[in-house]
C-alpha cells in the first residue's frame, strides 16, 4: 500500500472524490461522479505525478440499482495500481463517455460492456455487440437476466422468463432482484 499515492489523490482531486481513498492489500480505490469521470481519467493519464498510462481492465457492474463502470489502471512510472469506480449510471439508460481517446485498447472492452450491460459509451466509434449475435436483444449480465436454474434457488419467485428482452423498464419487481446496497 502506497500512502504517498493516497495523499496525492486526496490532494489533487479532494472534493471530487465521492468517498475517501480506500486502500487494501496492494489496491487503491477512488470513486468519482459520472460528470467528473472523463476529467479525472484524463488527469490520471496525463499528469506527470500519476502517469496511469496502462488500462489493465475496464468493466461494467450492475448493482441491481444502478450501473457502474470500473477502470483498473497501472502507472508506468511508480508501478501503482488504481481502481476508479464511476457509480450512478441510470439503469434504464446507462451512458458514459468513452475512454478510447486515452486508451484505444479500451474499444473492445467497451464493446463487451455494451454487449453485456447495455452501457452506451459515447465516442466509441465501433460500439456494437461483440459476443452475442447482432439481432440479440437482451443484456445477459444484468441482474434482471435470470438463468434457468434460478427458479429452483428461490421458489417463491416461481419460474421466470430466462431472457428478458430489451429495456429494464419492463423488468420484474424489485423484490426478486438480487441487490447489493453495499457495493
Amino acid at each position: 500500500m502506497d500512502r504517498r499515492l493516497a495523499a496525492l489523490l486526496q490532494e489533487k482531486f479532494g472534493d471530487r472524490l465521492l468517498t475517501p481513498v480506500r486502500q487494501r492489500y496492494d489496491e487503491s480505490e477512488i470513486r468519482v461522479a459520472l460528470a467528473d469521470a472523463t476529467d479525472t481519467l484524463r488527469t490520471l493519464h496525463d499528469d506527470p505525478a500519476f502517469r496511469f498510462e496502462m488500462l489493465i481492465d475496464l468493466c461494467g457492474v450492475d448493482t441491481g440499482e444502478e450501473m457502474q463502470v470500473v477502470y483498473h489502471l497501472s502507472s508506468s512510472t511508480s508501478g501503482d495500481w488504481l481502481r476508479v469506480i464511476v457509480p450512478g449510471l441510470d439503469r434504464t439508460a446507462p451512458r458514459i463517455a468513452s475512454a478510447t481517446f486515452m486508451w484505444p485498447g479500451a474499444e473492445w472492452m467497451e464493446r463487451e460492456a455494451y454487449d453485456m450491460f447495455g452501457i452506451i459509451f459515447e465516442g466509441n466509434r465501433d460500439l456494437r455487440r461483440i459476443y452475442m449475435p447482432d439481432d440479440y436483444r437482451s443484456y445477459p449480465l444484468r441482474k434482471d437476466f435470470y438463468l434457468a436454474d434460478d427458479a429452483s434457488r428461490s421458489p417463491a419467485a416461481g419460474v421466470r422468463n430466462m431472457e428478458r428482452a430489451g429495456t429494464p423498464a419492463d423488468a420484474t419487481a424489485a423484490t426478486t432482484l438480487r441487490k447489493s446496497p453495499g457495493v
Binding site: 487494501r24 496492494d26 488500462l55 468493466c59 457492474v61 508501478g79 473492445w108 460500439l127 437476466f145 457495493v183
Partner: protein, 403 residues
C-alpha cells in the same frame, strides 16, 4: 387420407427462391467503423477466414478486406465460444466459481484459476501456507513452459513447418502428464483452492519432474535450434507486424507481447505475488517489437521458468498445503482484484462480494482478448499469408477471448 408430400426440387411447379434469400444478406452497418469497413473501393473484395480455420487457434472468424494479395482492413468476429462464464460464476459459490474459470484458456488453465483464487483470498483475508505458495509457483511455471513450447510449435505450423509441432508436443505432453499425476486432470486441472492447493506433491510427480528437469534445458535448446536458425522462418517473421512501445501501452498490451516491444513490465517482479520476490529471475525483453521478437521473448522466458523451478525445488519448505477455512465461505462485502502474470499477459479477476456465499460480480480479464484487437492494425498492408504469422506471434487463445 391424403398424405402431405414434401415437394421435390425436380418438380417444375416448385418455385425456387430468389438467389438473394439463399445467402446471408449483407450486414447493415451499425457503427461508423463498420460502415467504413463495409465500403469497398476499386479493386477491393472481402475474403472470409474461419470460423473453422487451422490458423485461428480456436473458433474465430476474420473478415479480411483485400486488394489483390494485400490486406486493406480486417474485422474479427468473436463469440463462437462464448459460454457466459461470468454469469455462471455469479450463480455459483466461491469454490464452484474456480472450476468454471479453468476451461477459459485450455493451454494454460492454472493461470485462469490463479487469478480468481488470488482475488477471493484478498476478499477473505486468507493467508496461504508457504508450501502451498511454492507449489503454486512450481505448477504455474511448468504450465508456462507447456504453453510456450506449444506456441513454438503452433507458430512454426502456421508458417508452414510441420516438424516443430511434433517436437514441441514431446515436451508439452511430458509436462501435461506430470501435472496429470499431480492433479488428476490432463488439461483442466482445478488444482488451486482458496487458501492453498488440492493435495500435496506426490511421488510420481516428483520423480517425473526430476527426470524431465535433468534433460529439459538441452531438449528445449535442440527444439530452438530447429527453428531459430531456419532461414525461411526468420525471414518471414523479422520486421513483420512491428508494434512500438507507445502503441503497445496505449492498446493495453501486456505479457511477452509488451516485453517484445521493449517495456520490461512483468507482474512477477513489478507487483509481486506468492513467493516471487524471493526468487531470482530475469525479465527478458527485446526492442524490435516484430513477430520474431515476440517469438524470441517467449523462448527466453522458458529458460527463466526452468531457472525458477530449479530454485523452487531447492527451497520448498515442509508444512501444510491448505489454510484452515470453514466449508461455507461468506466473505465480508467488498471488492478485490487478483492478477497474475500468465504466458500471454495479465490474467485478472475483479470480484465483488455482497456478503453471501456467491460472488456478486466476477469480471474476468483475459489478455488474449486485448491482443486480438491488434491483429487489424498490425496486418494492414501486409500479405494475407502474413496475417497468420502476426496472429500466431500474438498467441491468442479463443477460449479466453470468448469467455
Amino acid at each position: 387420407m391424403t398424405q402431405q408430400m414434401r415437394p421435390s426440387l425436380d418438380d417444375p411447379r416448385v418455385a425456387i427462391p430468389a438467389e438473394s434469400s439463399w445467402y446471408e444478406p449483407a450486414p447493415i452497418p451499425q457503427t461508423e467503423r463498420q460502415a467504413e469497413f463495409l465500403t469497398l473501393r476499386e479493386g477491393e473484395m472481402f475474403v472470409n477466414m474461419g470460423p473453422q480455420h487451422p490458423s485461428t487457434h480456436g473458433v474465430l472468424r476474420v473478415i479480411i478486406k483485400v486488394n489483390g494479395e494485400k490486406v486493406v482492413d480486417l474485422d474479427p468476429v468473436l463469440g463462437y465460444l462464448h459460454r457466459g462464464v461470468e454469469k455462471l460464476c455469479e450463480n455459483a459459490d466461491y469454490h464452484q466459481a474456480i472450476c468454471y474459470t479453468d476451461p477459459l484458456e485450455y493451454v494454460a488453465s492454472l493461470f485462469c484459476e490463479a487469478a480468481p483464487v488470488a482475488a477471493f483470498e484478498k476478499l477473505m483475508d486468507v493467508d496461504v501456507p508457504r508450501r502451498a505458495q511454492y507449489i503454486r509457483v512450481l505448477t504455474m511455471e511448468l504450465n508456462r513452459i507447456a504453453s510456450h513450447t506449444l506456441f513454438q510449435g503452433w507458430m512454426a505450423l502456421d508458417l508452414g513447418g510441420i516438424t516443430p509441432i511434433l517436437w514441441a508436443f514431446i515436451e508439452r505432453d511430458e509436462i501435461v502428464d506430470m501435472l496429470a499425476a499431480l492433479t488428476g486432470q490432463k488439461l483442466l486441472y482445478n488444482y488451486y483452492r482458496i487458501g492453498g492447493v488440492n493435495g500435496d506433491l506426490n511421488h510420481e510427480f516428483m520423480s517425473r519432474l526430476g527426470t524431465w528437469m535433468s534433460r529439459a534445458a538441452a531438449q528445449i535448446d535442440s527444439n530452438l535450434a530447429l527453428i531459430n536458425e531456419n532461414e525461411i522462418f526468420v525471414r518471414r517473421t523479422r520486421g513483420l507486424g512491428v508494434l512500438d512501445a507507445k502503441t503497445a501501452l496505449k492498446m493495453g498490451v501486456t505479457g511477452p507481447n509488451l516485453r517484445a516491444s521493449g517495456v520490461p513490465f512483468d507482474l512477477r517482479r513489478d507487483r509481486p505475488y506468492l513467493v516471487y520476490p524471493e526468487l531470482e529471475f530475469d525479465v527478458p525483453t527485446r526492442d524490435e517489437g516484430d513477430s520474431l521478437a515476440r517469438y524470441l521473448v517467449r523462448m527466453d522466458e522458458i529458460k527463466q521458468s526452468i531457472r525458477i523451478i530449479d530454485q523452487v525445488l531447492h527451497e520448498m519448505p515442509d508444512g501444510p498445503v491448505m489454510a484452515k477455512l470453514p466449508r461455507l465461505l461468506r466473505p465480508r462485502p467488498g471488492r478485490a482484484f487478483g492478477a497474475v502474470e500468465g504466458p500471454r499477459g495479465v490474467y485478472g479477476t475483479y470480484a465483488i462480494s455482497d456478503g453471501t456465499d456467491q460472488p456478486f460480480r466476477m469480471r474476468i480479464h483475459d489478455p488474449s482478448f486485448v491482443h486480438l484487437q491488434l491483429v487489424g492494425p498490425l496486418t494492414k498492408g501486409n500479405l494475407i499469408a502474413d496475417t497468420m504469422a502476426v496472429m500466431a506471434s500474438l498467441d491468442p487463445v479463443m477460449g479466453g477471448v470468448d469467455k
